[in-house]
């Protein structure tokens, strides 16, 4: 997939503070119901799963269907008790995974 991803994640937070993460991934999200001009169907090709884990533990996940708009935008929150690494991953219908990693420090 090698999709372009962007994420806005704070670099440091205070213990137990709820913080917001915003993510964007470039992807056409072909629903599989669209047609070429000649009537052939454009095959389905979407990102179907997003996961956020912190130090290996799941923070948030989404099972994504064709009704999510192209260039999927996701905003969610997290709360951590220690410093560590946040890993975001997007999986497409072919099973390809794109990841974005960032450390978060404790303020």
């Amino acid at each position: 997939m090698a999709a372009r991803v962007r994420a806005k994640i704070p670099e440091s937070v205070t213990v137990g503070e709820v913080f917001t993460i915003r993510t964007l991934v470039s992807h056409r999200m072909e629903s599989g119901l669209r047609e070429h001009a000649d009537g052939r169907l454009v095959p389905r090709d979407i990102i179907n799963r997003f996961e956020a884990t912190f130090e290996g533990e799941r923070v948030f996940a989404v099972d994504i269907e064709p009704g999510i708009a192209a260039n999927p935008f996701l905003e969610f929150t997290a709360r951590i008790e220690k410093a560590g690494t946040l890993v975001l991953s997007w999986t497409d219908d072919a099973g390809e995974v794109t990841t974005y990693t960032q450390g978060i420090a404790l303020a």
Partner: protein, 158 residues
């Protein structure tokens, strides 16, 4: 497999009306049968059914624009008030669009580390409809909220 007549009526309206035409393109505009379209009933059943949702929306709030100029990308957000502790937290929220070819839009999974059961995204809307959010806690409490979104023709020639 799906509610045949109600889906066909919805599709005829989708094909005939100009509204949401751009979004309709993503969902197909020919006479093909939507053989794999999920019924709203099946999507609700898979989330645990309607039983126990007599309490209505409870702590769940769903935010969508009243009018969407462009059905291709409609901002959606929701929030479920919850302590989000191991003993008491929202486990998942599903968003349903009954008039879309694929009714289920996304299922959001939360843990105590989510901090809140809030999320935002952008969805596709094939036509004017009531978008539904269903939420459930780890111990099986369920809530339901819905908001009506009117989908208009965006851009020139509207």
């Amino acid at each position: 497999m799906y509610g045949g007549s109600s889906v066909s009526a919805g599709r005829r309206a989708l094909l005939g009306a100009g509204a949401g035409a751009a979004a309709a393109a993503f969902f197909g505009g020919s006479g093909r049968a939507f053989a794999e379209i999920e019924a709203l009933e099946r999507a609700i059943a898979e989330f645990g059914g309607e039983a126990g949702m007599a309490g209505g929306r409870g702590p769940l709030s769903l935010t969508l624009p009243r009018i969407a100029e462009n059905g291709n990308s409609v901002a959606l957000s929701f929030s479920v008030e919850s302590p989000m502790t191991a003993e008491d937290h929202i486990e998942s929220v599903v968003i349903l669009a009954p008039e879309n070819p694929y009714v289920r839009i996304a299922t959001f999974h939360f843990t105590p580390m989510s901090g809140t059961a809030k999320a935002a995204t952008r969805m596709r809307l094939a036509r004017t409809q009531d978008v539904i959010a269903l939420a459930r806690t780890g111990d099986g409490r369920r809530y339901r909220a819905q908001e009506r979104v009117e989908v208009t023709i965006g851009g020139c020639g509207g």
